[in-house]
């Protein structure tokens, strides 16, 4: 665990994490959580773009992976208990 945390992720791995987070974000049925997860992902990656220290990049990557697992689980939980009526913000958009 400690050894893998030090090695900085490759460019492909980072892109994979970014795309995976956005994909899960889109699947949230709750309007606010969906928008937040998208926004937070984009802003966090933009913020961490400037990171050069490989241990910091690795830490940010590990954190992102942990967040992805949380998002995947919560996406399911939210879908299990989704209210029948959608948010007014979702209703108008589709109309």
């Amino acid at each position: 665990m400690a050894a893998s945390a030090v090695a900085a992720p490759t460019r492909n791995e980072v892109l994979w994490l970014y795309r995976s987070l956005l994909r899960v974000a889109r699947q949230f049925c709750d309007y606010n959580i969906r928008e937040y997860t998208k926004r937070r992902t984009i802003d966090a990656f933009r913020h961490n773009q400037k990171l050069t220290d490989s241990s910091k990049v690795a830490a940010a990557f590990a954190d992102g992976k942990a967040q992805l697992e949380v998002a995947k689980r919560q996406c399911i939980v939210y879908s299990l208990y989704a209210p029948k009526v959608k948010s007014v913000m979702d209703v108008k958009r589709s109309a």
């Binding site: 928008e35 009526v85 959608k86 913000m89 108008k92």
Partner: protein, 409 residues
């Protein structure tokens, strides 16, 4: 709901009443609702140990957010209980020598009610007035402190108007006179930086569900050096160092801890966004409407709370008209009554303006689109109501409505 037809669930702008649980918080809580159900006070098996470890981890997460040590955190059922323990507990403990409490007129109901209770027991209470900006006068506070003053209780961020009191200065005055200082920081936790050392607070009430945590849990910070002591309200198994007996609810406490940890990481990001959204909301409304007043100080306020009054409009009609926006006129506790808020009255807001207040609560999950929609709907509704209002017509004709003598009815 009966009689109300809406196209969808309203957009939520009532973050001061309660906030949604952050998915990261729920994710931390769920394991303790399924397999890890042990009583954290059980010392004889793994179930107890793992729960106790989780509770202690949560305690340090809460402590870290306010700059305290984990031994100074007591878990309670919420800020109301913490306020009750603080106000009544301190005064009961030191009742031989200390007979006087100082608080403000704009405190939350649970502090005011606890004070009222103390008055019935023969204690004296001073309710400090506030200026039109909602902030207390520090010189007045200094003057009101007596040799037998046992507690000064001033809330950090007001729940109705979002005004931030000068905590450091109040703390300094309390230290000067060695009076314990209690603050209700339920609305401040995770939103503005809190430092119990810098503010010199002896007791601080915290709530879980105002920081995207679960409802039914809160915490009380109790200073260890110099030690502040309270008389417990609940007697029993002696949990939480005897201050709050009763089994600690592991899932809720874990949730509150997780909420504090997320808040610590996200405070700067959230604050930047919420400030921008508040400006967008205020500018959007002000661009299209005249006679919009911000209640409370504009500079010294938490951005997530925007309390506005709309002149010549009846508040209840406006609230009813804003079906697609979940907002309130003030505190959720008093939202059932048609009386104008006592907080706005303490500010000296005119009766008519106090009747038309709307509190917009912006939070972590609020979007730009929601703000734009709220602006659009508010403007539409206010314009519609003003069109019907004879008062507004008179004002437009140049009649000063303050000069009108209304016949008694």
């Amino acid at each position: 709901m009966k009689g109300i037809k809406v196209a969808g669930r309203p957009l939520y702008l009532d973050m001061q009443a309660t906030s949604p649980v952050d998915p990261r918080v729920l994710d931390a809580m769920l394991p303790f609702y399924v397999s890890r159900y042990g009583n954290p006070h059980s010392r004889t098996h793994l179930y107890g140990w793992e729960s106790e470890m989780a509770v202690e981890a949560a305690r340090s997460q809460v402590a870290a957010l306010i700059g305290a040590s984990l031994k100074e955190i007591i878990f309670t059922s919420g800020a109301t209980e913490s306020n009750n323990i603080s106000v009544k507990g301190v005064m009961h403990f030191y009742k031989e020598k200390r007979r006087h409490v100082i608080t403000t007129q704009t405190e939350h109901k649970c502090v005011l009610d606890s004070c009222r209770h103390l008055q019935q027991e023969g204690f004296e209470v001073t309710y400090l007035p506030v200026g039109s900006d909602g902030i207390i006068d520090l010189e007045r506070l200094r003057r009101e402190i007596r040799p037998d003053t046992g507690l000064v209780s001033v809330m950090t961020v007001n729940n109705e108007i979002g005004v931030i009191q000068p905590m450091e200065e109040i703390g300094r005055i309390c230290k000067e006179f060695s009076v314990p200082f209690h603050t209700d920081a339920a609305q401040a936790l995770g939103k503005i930086p809190i430092d119990v050392e810098k503010w010199n607070v002896s007791l601080m009430s915290l709530s879980g569900h105002k920081v995207y945590g679960p409802k039914g849990v809160g915490a009380l910070y109790m200073r260890r050096r110099p030690r502040i002591r309270v008389e417990p309200q609940m007697n029993g198994g002696g949990q939480e160092r005897g201050i709050r007996s009763g089994t600690v609810p592991t899932p809720l406490v874990v949730g509150m801890g997780a909420a504090c940890e997320v808040a610590m990481k996200e405070m700067e990001y959230d604050d930047k966004r919420i400030t921008a959204l508040q400006e967008r909301l205020l500018n959007g409304i002000r661009e299209k409407l005249e006679g919009v007043v911000v209640n409370g100080s504009v500079e010294r306020r938490y951005a997530g709370n925007l309390n506005l009054s709309f002149a010549y409009v009846e508040g209840e009609s406006l609230l009813m008209g804003l079906k697609e926006v979940a907002v309130s006129s003030g505190s959720a506790c008093t939202s059932a009554s048609l009386e104008p808020s006592y907080v706005l009255r303490a500010l000296g807001v005119d009766e008519d303006m106090a009747h038309t207040s709307i509190r917009y609560g912006i939070g972590r999950f609020t979007t730009e689109e929601e703000i734009d929609r709220a602006v659009e709907l508010t403007v539409k509704q206010v314009e519609k109501l003003r069109e019907m209002s004879p008062l507004y017509e008179m004002v437009k004709e140049g009649i000063d409505i303050k000069q009108i003598h209304w016949a008694q009815h």
